[in-house]
């Protein structure tokens, strides 16, 4: 079809002596839901961090919408319309839930020199923020201090923040972990709605049922390398993938 939304080629990252990601390549088409799977320590979150600019790659290229983005700073990448959640939740603890989301809504304004001086405490902004919270089911907790929320709610807050920023691409890092049954179903439905609105989704997930059911395609990593890529049925049947997961059972997981 047309050019992929996100192209990753030969991506590598080493920390001191540790090769966390080694020559990973894959593409994401606009409008698809791609799952990034693999045992613990496979390098999935590192890939996310590379794409979202937390640190630069040691080698390789990342292109978003045709332009090279590897090595760009996090805030610049966010400005391109890429939103993300974090595996270890990072709420703005002293701010309220609504303020957390509004902070993300400010993305359009943070770059200029004049916009940053206008007020965010307007009824219009409040409405927009509350509607974002509605989508993740947190509207009732809008005035609660974020630091007091339980993990499940914090995960949903991360998603709300990422939604405010990610108008083109959403990176969800284990957003389903720690959620209750109803919350999982709600989130699955939300992601499908988001995709219908034209946002592409890349998610890291350990919950196999969710990953298989939600994703159009999967990429499996192991020890920093790509092991398999394809539709869920193909990947599930792949020998290499089965080995990688079965081989892990019974042995200690990497952090």
């Amino acid at each position: 079809m047309s050019r992929p939304l996100l192209e990753i080629a030969g991506l590598s990252k080493s920390f001191g002596g540790l090769q966390a990601v080694d020559g990973v390549s894959f593409d994401i088409q606009s409008g698809e839901i791609l799952g990034l799977l693999g045992p613990n320590g496979a390098g999935k979150t590192v890939c996310f961090n590379l794409v979202s600019g937390v640190y630069p790659p040691t080698a390789g290229r990342i292109s978003f919408d045709g332009r090279r983005i590897e090595g760009l700073a996090s805030h610049a990448i966010a400005g391109l319309g890429i939103g993300r959640t974090f595996q270890i939740v990072k709420p703005f603890a002293q701010l309220t839930v609504l303020e957390n989301v509004l902070a993300a809504r400010g993305i359009a304004r943070y770059r200029g020199l004049t916009d940053i001086w206008s007020s965010w405490k307007t009824p219009a902004e409040r409405r927009e923020g509350l509607s974002l919270l509605e989508r993740v089911g947190l509207a009732g907790l809008a005035e609660r201090r974020a630091g007091l929320l339980p993990l499940g709610d914090l995960r949903r807050l991360e998603i709300a923040r990422a939604l405010a920023v990610g108008r083109k691409l959403l990176l969800l890092d284990e957003s389903f972990s720690g959620l209750r049954h109803e919350e999982i179903a709600h989130l699955e439905a939300l992601i499908r709605v988001i995709r219908a609105e034209g946002v592409t989704v890349l998610l890291i997930e350990h919950n196999m049922r969710v990953a298989m059911g939600l994703c159009d395609r999967l990429v499996v990593l192991d020890h920093g390398r790509k092991l398999a890529e394809g539709r869920p049925a193909e990947v599930r049947a792949s020998e290499a993938v089965i080995q990688a997961y079965l081989g892990r059972k019974g042995s200690a997981h990497a952090a």
Partner: protein, 294 residues
């Protein structure tokens, strides 16, 4: 009102202005600065030089004073904010020592003797002294507080708060850490410079030792004791730290000891400050007033 009270009041008002600036840096943006006294001094020396060498009035010199303090804050802020958090504390201490050394050793700044003979500030030919000058200080304090209040309501302030809480997450929502840390720094040092100009025209004689490291510690203590990141905290802190030595004056020889021990106890048992979250004062007020203090 007695002259003594007005003098104390003026000092507290000036310190409040400088402490509010520090609160923007430390409380709003979460960046530690232990060198804030240096910018207070830069403002004072700039005002003193413009008044004595260039003959400018307090009002004519003021924009320049604030601009110079903010500009030097920007210059020193750029390398400082790129270092790790722990380094920042020490780097700002270093800035204080170096700026003090510059003031002490260069003839341009009057060397060890400082600069004297600074004329009083005047309002339409009326030389401001005593209670009038105190009112001038209160006027500027209210301007500074209004600016801080607006900051909490605007996107720049929200960006600083987010940065303070979680830098990585703030970057992921488009907040450039360097940009907003610098912004807070520049605003804070600009306010310190304003305080410096008032100080120069109040004391009418300044020297490098007025702006040494112990003052930076006092300023940070004011912000922390009052309640870091709150709107009224710096003023309460400036009041307490300004009034305590006077309260302990009858103890003569023991007063500094009492003052430092009290600071230690306050920090140890109320590290959030008197207006901070969960402070004893807040809990008492929560029982008395329905809404509690802001």
């Amino acid at each position: 009102m007695s002259g003594y009270l007005i003098t104390i009041g003026t000092i507290i008002a000036i310190n409040s202005i400088v402490a509010c600036g520090l609160n923007v840096i430390v409380g709003f943006a979460g960046q530690i600065s232990l060198g804030h006294a240096a910018f207070f001094g830069i403002g004072a020396y700039t005002a003193a030089l413009l008044a004595t060498q260039a003959g400018l009035s307090f009002w004519a010199a003021l924009p320049c004073v604030i601009a110079v303090s903010a500009a030097i804050g920007l210059l020193l802020g750029i390398p400082s904010l790129r270092v790790r958090e722990d380094f920042l504390a020490i780097t700002t201490i270093g800035i204080n020592f170096i700026v003090e050394a510059v003031f002490n050793n260069f003839e341009f700044f009057g060397g060890a003797l400082g600069i004297g003979g600074i004329p009083r500030a005047a309002l339409f030919d009326l030389k401001l002294r005593g209670a009038e000058f105190f009112c001038l200080c209160l006027f500027f304090l209210s301007l500074v507080m209004a600016a801080c209040w607006w900051l909490t309501r605007c996107w720049a302030g929200l960006a600083c708060f987010a940065l303070r809480e979680e830098e990585t997450a703030a970057a992921s929502v488009g907040i450039s850490p360097v940009r907003f840390k610098l912004l807070a720094f520049v605003i804070g040092t600009g306010m310190a410079g304003l305080g410096g100009a008032l100080y120069a025209h109040f004391m009418r004689f300044i020297s490098a030792s007025d702006f040494a490291f112990p003052l930076s510690v006092s300023l940070l203590s004011m912000v922390v004791v009052g309640g870091i990141g709150t709107l009224w905290g710096p003023i309460l802190g400036a009041f307490i730290i300004g009034v305590l030595p006077e309260v302990f004056r009858p103890l003569i020889d023991y007063r500094i000891l009492f003052y430092t021990l009290l600071l230690l106890l306050m920090i140890r048992f109320q590290p959030g400050g008197l207006l901070g979250e969960n402070s004893a004062a807040r809990r008492v007020f929560a029982k008395i007033l329905p809404g509690g203090k802001p």
